[in-house]
Amino acid sequence: MRAVPLPRFLSSVELAYLNVVNHLLAFPIIPVMVAVLLQVLELGPDELIAHWSSLGIDTIHALCTIFTVVVVATAYFMSRPRPVYLVDHACFRPPRTFRVPFATFFEHASLVPFFDEKSVRFQVRILESSGLGEETCLPLANRYIPPCPSMEAACAEARLVIFSAIDELIAKTDLKPRDVDILVVNCSLFSPTPSLSAMIVNKYKMRSNIMSFNLSGMGCSAGLISIDLARSLLQAHPNSYALVVSTEIITPNFYAGNERSMLLPNCLFRMGAAAVLLSNSRREEDRAKYRLLHVVRTHEGADDRAYRCVYEEEDGEGNSGINLSKEMMTVAGEALRANITAVGPLVLPVTEQLRFLASLVARRLLGARGGKPYIPDFKRAFDHLCIHAGGRAVIDELQRSLGLPAALVEASRMTLHRFGNTSSSSLWYELAYIEAKSRMRRGDRVWMIGFGSGFKCNSAVWRCLRAPKAPVDGPWSDCIHRYPVHVPEMVKLL
């Protein structure tokens, strides 16, 4: 039967041990080979030939040896996992007509009939200290007085954001829709039948043997779940292209009640979508921007507190909305710690790993007397960080708990300011920011961290293969010159 799963810290120790054992062979082999080489070099050519003849190897033996070497080398190369390249990515650029400055938001909230005055003031307070700017966008259906969240309007928003992103991706990469082998779409809060993936297959006339998957309800971290799924599929199918589309459709999710904990999404969620082209074809190595190194997923759903902290429910009046619990920051912190315990051994330099391990073991054995938990210095492992722009509080908490400098969280803060919380696509807007600022260099490592309902914390690590040439065409093209901006703690509106 299967082994009982080890507790987290033991599995870190096991991973370290496995690393050493796997490379155990490397340790003696290299000095041995070097010694042999030195010996061979010492001998003169005549002696070498004499040695060779004395070994009594005839043609058959030589051929067999060469054959074995070739077979083993082939087996080795074939058993290695195929690399997954990110050819390019594109984000939805909301038109100006969709912008919702604070004043517009306030006016709309005051005019719709279902919010009482306390709720209006509460929403404005949230907006003032949210870290959002004046250029974030909401779909038209939500701007009506009262909003009209019909299915048709939701489909219209879906078509607008998704098709814009895919059209831009096609223009950037010369992708032919009929070449797409794998399609993964994630949209948490809107899932019509047929799915959004079928909608894309229909619009772009994709092939009938396409492997399409539509993920829903998986929260703001679903973008990385889609990447994980696309990666698994690419491992199983050589020479393939995978199109991953991440979005959140805002139209059907307007909360029309007065429960405070359920009003937050109205204030924070904004329109956005991203389309990403992945491939495992060797041809793409020449033009791919990034290579996927790792994806690590952590699910804290077994803990009731974590499970309940982002929860869709109905309030006393029957209005449905997403309830964000006050414990979300604590839960997010714990989920992150669990995730980095798994990511750490994969990316940190050996010295950092040993120090982290020692601290874990010490705390395990000695409890609190073992000293404070050692936070590995992730700056040494990554050059860029994309943290899901869930809200100012989330970014502040992460910056504090990981000890990150302001420069590393700048992409997240600026994305939150310019685009708001676009849910699963926010990570791609942040990556676009770093590229637009010409900070991406070949060889740089990028860490994407997504959080979402469940409670899940998912990470992906990319390496840059090709730095995009300035000026970079993307969602920041028209405004990057204004960034970074200072985002004040509070923007007074009332």
């Binding site: 058993s79 899932s191 229909n202 829903s216 599929l233 077994a302």
Partner: protein, 463 residues
């Protein structure tokens, strides 16, 4: 002296180098071999959902529910009742509690949660109990429920309830229609390629409570009449050590998506009627679309499933047919060359979309009454349970002790998109579990499939 010493050391070094080289080459070869060993996908076990008897939907009850919709006129009422009476569905099928209790027009989120929870938890409890696997051992969890996707997802609900591990890979598929079972299997099969000794649990069901249509558009009312509650949880693994306990092995899987065609995409679609009420629209072109998708799927499936002999015969027959057709156009214009799928498949799990669907697919595949009996009986006993219907059909075959070692089972389903997905399984040992059919299999097949309410409601067929 120095030369002698160095020669000995040299030989020793060569020996050590050779040994290490052999060791590493053997370990690479073993890794490659081990990789191939783990590429099989085994069906460990499956459990079909059996709701409690207080949820049975008799024709009488259906009639009451339909009458509650005051917006319907008499012709509409007659039309709906006609559909129910002629559907081939018995008095034993199940509906959601919210509809039976009169709340069909305004189901709460709790109603929807309760409906799926009952299905998921009861089947999973039994699945874990029967297999002896603990929830903490599950590596991959997939849920596909097309028309209900709350946040947190249903997969998170299950992770929370069963306290699954942190590193469990969850996937919540939604909106993928009635053919989602093979899609979920495809997902798991692909994940299996990248991981050894993995255990996956898949839950497939449909949510009816939030999707009751309260309007007057006929094309949307069919869904109300035909869909019934049902679901299935099944466990898949690629662990070769569990092979001796597994029931079936996946041989191949074919997906055909005809969404590129506009008619196909919009023939089964959730949207709003003229009054703004959301319903599931089934268009008149659905049969034509289904045939096209079905043909595409079979074209890809046939070479993988049929023995070489049958394929060769098909080519020969095709050539002959074409020659004859060019000579005598009128006589052979309408006929098509048939492939005998029964040469490669012993049992057929057909999607129970409706009596007409089963008959049409059966005749296209050249099946007889015995072959379509499991699908017909499933439609009779359970109704159209959407994506999980294939598993009830499989359950019938198993309860009737039809599944013997080395038999091949073909699962074929259709769904919104428009998709036609199929997968072929090989039975690994003689199967005998009664499952959800345990208490009623003796009564099947019944003498007559005619609805007992034909006397009472037979007048609907007259006007």
């Amino acid at each position: 002296m120095h030369t002698v010493l160095s020669v000995d050391a040299m030989d020793l070094l060569w020996m050590i180098a050779t040994v290490l080289f052999l060791y590493s080459s053997l370990s690479f070869l073993w890794k490659a071999f081990d990789c191939r060993r783990n590429q099989n996908c085994y069906l460990f076990d499956y459990v079909c959902y059996k709701p409690s008897d207080d949820r049975k939907l008799s024709t009488e009850l259906c009639s009451d529910v339909i009458k509650r919709n005051k917006r319907l006129s008499m012709p509409d009422y007659k039309f709906l009742l006609k559909v129910v009476v002629n559907s081939g569905i018995s008095e034993e099928t199940y509906g959601p509690r919210s509809i039976i209790e009169g709340r069909e027009e305004s189901p709460t989120l709790d109603d929807c949660d309760d409906e799926v929870d009952d299905c998921m938890y009861s089947t999973l409890d039994e699945l874990f109990h029967r297999t002896g696997i603990s929830p903490g051992d599950v590596d991959v969890l997939v849920v596909n429920i097309s028309m209900f996707a709350p946040a947190p997802s249903l997969t998170s609900r299950i992770v929370n309830r069963y306290k699954m591990r942190e590193d469990v890979k969850t996937f919540n598929l939604s909106g993928m229609g009635s053919s989602a079972s093979p899609i979920a299997i495809d997902l798991v099969n692909n994940v299996f390629e990248t991981r050894k000794r993995t255990l996956a649990v898949v839950i497939t069901s449909e949510s009816i409570a939030p999707n009751w249509y309260c309007g007057t558009d006929k094309s949307m009312m069919l869904g109300n009449c035909l869909f019934r509650s049902g679901g299935c949880s099944f466990m898949l693994t690629n662990d070769p050590s569990l092979k001796h306990r597994a029931k079936m092995r996946l041989k191949c899987l074919v997906r055909a998506h005809s969404g590129a065609n506009d008619d196909a995409y919009s023939c089964a679609m959730q949207n709003e009627d003229t009054d703004g009420r959301v319903g599931f629209h089934l268009s008149k072109s659905l049969p034509k679309v289904a045939v096209r998708a079905f043909t595409e799927n079979l074209q890809a499936l046939a070479p993988k499933v049929l023995p070489v002999g049958e394929l060769a015969l098909y080519v020969i027959r095709g050539l002959r047919h074409r020659l004859r057709r060019s000579k005598e156009t009128k006589a052979y214009a309408g006929t098509a060359v048939r492939v005998n799928f029964k040469s490669g498949v012993e049992h057929f799990c057909l999607h129970t979309g409706g009596a007409a669907v089963i008959d049409a697919v059966g005749s296209a595949l050249g099946l007889n009454k015995y072959d379509v009996e499991p699908a017909r009986m499933t439609l009779h006993r359970w109704g159209n349970t959407s994506a999980s219907s294939l598993w009830y059909v499989l359950g019938y075959m198993e309860a009737k002790k039809r599944l013997r070692r080395k038999d091949r089972v073909l699962m074929l389903s259709f769904g919104a998109g428009f998709k036609c997905n199929s997968c072929l399984w090989e039975v690994l040992r003689d199967l005998e579990d009664g499952g959800a059919w345990e208490d009623c299999i003796q009564a099947y097949p019944p003498q007559s499939l005619v609805n007992p309410f034909m006397d009472k409601f037979g007048w609907v067929n007259e006007a």
